[in-house]
Amino acid sequence: MAANLVQITRRGFGETMRKDGWWIPSVLTFLGFSAFIVYSTWAAFQGQHYSFGPYISPMYSPLIWEAAGQPLTDHAWLGGWPSWIPKILMMTPAMLILWAPGGFRFTCYYYRGAYYKAFWADPPGCAVGEPRHKYRGEKKLPLILQNAHRYFLYLALVFLVILAYDAIHAMFFLGPDGKKHFGIGVGTIVLTLNVILLGSYTLGCHSLRHLVAGRFDELSKRAARYKIYQFVSRLNTRHMLFAWCSLFWVGFSDFYVRMCSMGIWTDFRLF
């Protein structure tokens, strides 16, 4: 392949003839993702104020065990925090589960492109010089592992069902009579919106699009799959938008439940 040798001169880091604000999107992405990572890490370490009445923070759902020292609620699947988990680990229920949605987002095709640019500067912007000469891309370890995205998708779909259950659960409030009554609070809306946004994001996944029908060359011969494919494709064109909206809203949902639980905000009942 000697005939294909192409030698070109490369530009230094940040060097470009672009005169527009090419760095703005990357900086915004960097700030946005960083803010979320900082908040979610902080929230995951709290181990309290993650539920309020029928509401549970999406960062703590599914709640396998109630956090150490927290009173038992009907959100917990298996009861109280097991004593065999060493205290020194400072584990909270969130840490048991957050890796799954985290992994889904980390391996997501949109996020990958976005954080490669914003965090690795690879490239810092389109047609802008890079800091490093070496490049392995996703062809070799470690980034070849990004190909596991579809497995995180399977988990994300399960989480989506659980969060949908949470949203429905958030419609039944314990009355003074000790029975549950249907109702809608602001928190219900917050958690419902959360599921809708997460659904729009998850169901627009590139891997899902491939798995439902994209892998076939003759889509029209599979009418039902083709319909689903079209639906997923439509969501997929707004994958970036839903990635951001759902990310923000997950954070906000946790914050909302936390504020209510801490008694700082009052959850208004609409009926």
């Binding site: 672009r18 690879d122 996703e138």
Partner: protein, 247 residues
């Protein structure tokens, strides 16, 4: 009449400098018009490629104010003229002269991609039947005018010089058009993974951004191909299923 300044790369393979030219601007002018005017007025030997002047042939690719664009489709009223407009050849390939780069590598790469291999005709008239739904995807990719702007902006070629291991967005789109063609029976996933280096793409979507034909290169061509490669090579469950099916 208003005048504007264009700072154009002049020079050959080894050395070059940016030279300023002034020319008059009229309504509706595009960058290519300005270059032509400069050729006719002050620099007859200024080299540039162009053909159709309507965004259909993909010859006049260049970097205008640092962004890969077609000169014929960049209207002057869409770029600031208060400071000199820089025009350079595309950078992912070696320069030849002035605004011309040596893009011959692209033609070599295309030959390495396995050609279209249709299944035997299966309609009674000796042809095939294909539904519009099935060809929609492929037709999007076949809009490509081979301007190589996507190749130019792709950092894998532009900054990392992986020309020997990576075929670039244009040819991933080309491969996608073949792979998703309802009649094609060839399998290119192995080549895509190894020789064509699809793994080098890190989905920064710059190619999609610069495509003058608005082909959603990353989302509709490259990622679906990546997923097909996963099917074949990186999905243990699928492998297991295939193993059992074979038996």
């Amino acid at each position: 009449m208003k005048k504007a300044t264009f700072s154009i790369r002049r020079g050959g393979r080894e050395t070059a400098e940016m030279v300023d030219y002034q020319t008059e601007i009229s309504e509706g002018m595009v960058v290519l018009d300005a270059v032509h005017q400069i050729q006719a007025e002050s620099a007859p030997d200024l080299a540039c490629r162009w053909n159709c002047k309507a965004g259909k042939c993909g010859s006049c690719s260049a970097e205008i104010n640092g962004m890969p664009k077609l000169m014929c489709m960049t209207r002057l009223d869409t770029i600031p003229l208060d400071q000199p407009v820089t025009i350079e050849p595309i950078r992912a390939f070696p320069p030849i002269k002035d605004l011309i780069a040596d893009v011959s590598w692209n033609y070599e790469v295309k030959k390495r991609i396995k050609k279209f291999k249709p299944r035997a005709p299966d309609a009674e008239d000796g042809t095939w039947r294909m539904s519009q739904e099935d060809v929609d995807r492929v037709q999007e990719f076949r809009k490509c005018i081979e301007c190589f702007l996507c190749q130019d902006v792709c950092h894998v070629l532009r900054d990392h010089n992986k020309h020997e291991e990576f075929i670039g967005p244009r040819f991933l789109v080309y491969a996608a058009a073949l792979e998703m063609h309802p009649l094609d029976t060839e399998d290119r996933t192995g080549d895509l993974k190894d020789m064509h280096g699809i793994g080098y793409c890190n989905i920064t979507k710059c190619c999609t951004k610069v495509c003058p034909e608005h082909i959603t290169i990353t989302d509709n061509a490259i990622i679906p191909l990546k997923e097909r490669v996963v099917d074949e090579y990186y999905d243990p469950l699928k492998r297991l299923v295939r193993l059992f099916r074979k038996k």
